[in-house]
């Protein structure tokens, strides 16, 4: 019992930092409606800045002073990010903002690498709080007790700020209707910057406060973001008390999990989240989201039409070139092309659900990696012939999509995005932690195709036929009645339902189909590489696909495919540079701000301008 209590205290202490980061994210989301993916990066920044300051400032005053100062510095940095990156794109669709914050993640990663180097930093012990206190004879670190004592004050201070001050009232009003707050004479721009700065500062404090318990390293940003999302989703987006309860819940569970179920620590929190969301779809203390409530309806989508003769012949010419490639290309080019086609199919499947279905999935890698793992596991453990195992890739991914979709489809917007992300993290943690089956980060190796396909040329044709076939099939679906129903559900769910379309059902089927196609891509992928690792399931993999779709252009059909081609080439070239993340991040941010239509969209606009066939204005 005493041991359990001590464990509980450790959990509470861990919750403190998690709560700080999560409350910052929640606050920012509440007011700006932006899911700040770079929030984990601010947390990491807090840890690094904190370590540096603690080295400079001496003694106990220096230690606590450093923590305080860290929040201010990170807050200031957040304000700059908000003004430079986010201000120009508040009116842009959600996805653009998310992609922009992802660009910020990349930039911060490389900035941290430049300034602090690749070495992990140990956090200093808090002066005067080095040892343990005995509680019921169990040792509990003094620092833990102090943190547990501080947290209620932080919670109270935040609560006071939000409920009792004019700023807090304005923040809550803006959470509901920011345009109206503006119409009442409040400068929203500064309110947003202020809230973003405060949220970033909270993340910075979280990073600095956990230093004596952990340290600072370059993986912190992605490591915490999964838990933070879980906390915010469980607590309810925009609710501070909710974030606190959820942070405690998750942290205590984690500590107990480490003791009693060491294999399942990562999985546990996602299971809790799934349970909470089944009972309360908007989190413990969250408010139901009503689409369009915030007056954020963008310009209507232009209808997508099948290609005309010019487009068709261009596609045919491209396919012809691809078909004759093996007659002159070397092995390297064919491998690159296989990668490109696999990526294009993966991106096209995401584009299908995102562009056509309007569902921003943040965990699409779960289906790509899931398919790859399904096939690889069969080959690895049972020696299943490749032909059969390969079929299991799309099948398993489809089943996985049916399972995940069952939870996610009922949600919309950011909740949908967060939940898909959390589920993909669940799949990732299974692959990462269930070592007896998946071999963890050692990955599954020696997954080669059947003899008749083994070799660059046959496998190239295999990839070409299935990859291009998959992409064409998706295009066909988009132009079918099912595709029209899907688009109707995206553009106007209520009207679509009034016309007799079961929108949720259509979306569910589309989600599963996207999963099948991603799984197909994963299947081709695993046999082309001969191995699969948990990295294929990481957040980063999902984001790669998102960025590709975005770069290509969300509102265009070819967007995913063109973006994938572009990205494969650019990455091949960029990754040779030391600070390629910084460059890529800046490119992404620049595209979001300057050319938000993406490559294909911008080209189309240019083409239309050249031919001067812009749609004439619709008269009243």
């Amino acid at each position: 019992m005493a041991f359990l209590f001590a464990q509980f205290l450790t959990g509470l202490a861990n919750a403190s930092s998690l709560f700080l980061v999560a409350s910052g994210l929640s606050l920012i989301f509440g007011v700006t409606r932006i899911v700040n993916f770079a929030h984990g990066s601010f947390y990491m920044l807090g840890a690094f800045v904190g370590v540096t300051l603690m080295e400079i400032l001496p003694g106990a005053v220096g230690f606590w002073g450093a923590i305080l100062l860290t929040g201010l510095i990170v807050g200031l940095f957040g304000a700059i990010v908000e003004m430079v990156v986010l201000r120009p794109i508040y009116r842009a669709p959600e996805l653009f903002q998310l992609v922009a914050t992802f660009g910020v993640i990349l930039v911060i990663q490389d900035l941290a690498l430049m300034i602090w180097g690749a070495e992990d930093r140990m956090g200093p012990r808090a002066p005067g709080l080095r040892g343990v206190w005995r509680i019921f004879d169990e040792p509990v670190p003094k620092y833990d007790i102090v943190i547990i004592a501080i947290t209620p004050f932080i919670l109270f201070a935040l609560w006071y700020l939000i409920t009792r001050t004019r700023v807090g009232i304005l923040v809550r009003a803006a959470t509901q209707d920011r345009e109206m707050v503006g119409a009442l004479g409040v400068n929203q721009a500064w309110l947003f910057t202020g809230v973003f700065a405060l949220g970033s500062a909270l993340a910075g404090w979280g990073g600095a406060l956990q230093l004596p318990k952990g340290g600072a390293d370059l993986l912190m940003d992605f490591n915490i973001i999964g838990s933070v999302f879980v906390v915010v989703v469980i607590g309810g987006m925009g609710s501070l008390p909710g974030a606190f309860i959820a942070a405690v819940l998750i942290s205590v569970l984690n500590v107990l999990g480490v003791t009693y179920l060491p294999q399942s620590t990562l999985v546990l929190m996602f299971v809790v989240m799934a349970v909470v969301l089944i009972i309360r779809p908007y989190g413990l203390l969250g408010r139901e989201e009503v689409a369009g409530e915030h007056g954020q309806v963008g310009a209507p989508e232009a209808p997508i039409r099948p290609y005309g003769p010019v487009g068709r012949s261009l596609v045919a010419a491209l396919l012809l070139v691809l078909a004759v490639v093996p007659f002159f290309a070397d092995r390297f080019l064919m491998t690159l092309l296989i990668d490109m086609i696999v990526f294009a199919l993966f991106a096209a499947s995401l584009h299908f659900i995102l562009g056509t279905g309007g569902l921003v999935s943040f965990g699409h890698a779960a289906f790509f990696g899931g398919g790859a793992y399904a096939a690889a596991l069969l080959v690895f453990h049972t020696g299943t012939p490749m032909e059969l195992a390969f079929l299991f890739a799309p099948l398993a991914a489809g089943l996985l999509a049916l399972g995940i979709g069952w939870f996610c489809i009922r949600l919309t917007g950011v909740y949908f995005a967060m939940l898909t992300l959390a589920f993909s993290q669940l799949v990732w943690s299974l692959a990462f932690q269930w070592r007896s089956v998946t071999r963890g980060d050692d990955g599954l190796v020696n997954i080669w195709p059947a003899p008749w396909l083994n070799g660059p040329v046959p496998y190239y044709y295999f990839t070409l036929i299935l990859g291009v076939g998959g992409i064409l099939f998706l295009r066909h679906v988009i132009h079918s009645p099912f595709g029209y129903a899907l688009r109707a559900g995206r553009d106007s769910p209520r009207q679509a339902e009034a016309m007799g379309i079961d929108v949720k059902r259509v979306q569910y089927v589309a989600f599963a189909l996207a999963g099948v196609m991603a799984g197909l891509a994963g299947g081709i992928f695993v046999f082309s590489k001969g191995s699969v690792f948990p990295t294929e399931l990481e957040i980063g993999a999902s984001f790669d696909a998102l960025i590709v779709v975005f770069l290509g252009g969300v509102k265009t059909l070819a967007g995913g495919v063109v973006g994938a081609g572009f990205m494969t080439v650019v990455e091949d070239w960029l990754t040779r540079l030391e600070y390629w993340r910084l460059l890529l991040g800046l490119v992404i941010i620049a595209v979001v701000i300057i050319a938000p239509e993406g490559i294909v969209g911008s080209l189309q606009t240019l083409w239309r301008r050249i031919r001067n066939t812009g749609d004439e204005e619709i008269a009243r």
């Binding site: 004019r166 009232i169 304005l170 809550r172 009003a173 959470t175 509901q176 209707d177 345009e179 109206m180 707050v181 503006g182 119409a183 009442l184 004479g185 409040v186 400068n187 929203q188 721009a189 408010r287 310009a299 209507p300 749609d615 204005e617 619709i618 008269a619 009243r620």
Partner: protein, 233 residues
Amino acid sequence: MLSVEGIHSYYGKAHILDGLSFQVSRGEVVALLGRNGAGKSTTMKSVMQLVRPRKGKVVFQGTDVVGQSAFRVAKAGIGYVPEERRIFTDLTVMENLEVGRQPKREGAPEWTVEQLFEIFPNLKERRSNRGKHMSGGEQQMLTIARTLMGNPMLLLLDEPSEGIAPVIVEQMAETILKLKAEGLTVMISEQNLHFARAVADRAIIVESGEKKFDGSFADLEAHPEIRDAYLSV
């Protein structure tokens, strides 16, 4: 005080206001009349810059505000009460009023919470209630009081009589006359001709985003064909 000069406003590609011009002078109450979809709300939003006119000017106190942020227009002294009320449902009455609070303005009547409670006694009783627990009439009172907290010189009231009980409509008319007596300039948009006649000095009729009539209610009485053509009675 306000001079709207040939504004063209759009929703996406739909052309809503087609070169609309009118003026509002200090101290008067003007009623903007017209059918559903005639462009009344868009006119109000275009003055407020919640919808940006693509052409034309909105001159308030000698300055063209077209292209400015809505908050600057509000700071300049225009108070806007939206048709949908848009009160903050999770905030209490007092907090809703706090959001609207702005410093005192030269040349405009000044309002305190106490004064507003005198005009809207229901709000005083419900001062600690959240917006979502209030009736439609009370919400309408709150949204006006909230805007008055900004001490505006010109008040834009978008369809104040819509969706509230007849008894409250009468109260609303009295309220608007009280505001006028305090020296406030008011522009209301209305479909209810009786209500408009009870409170306004002048009528402007819009149809398809164009001005069809501008004059006193006596003039309007004299031309029943205008009323029949542009207003559904």
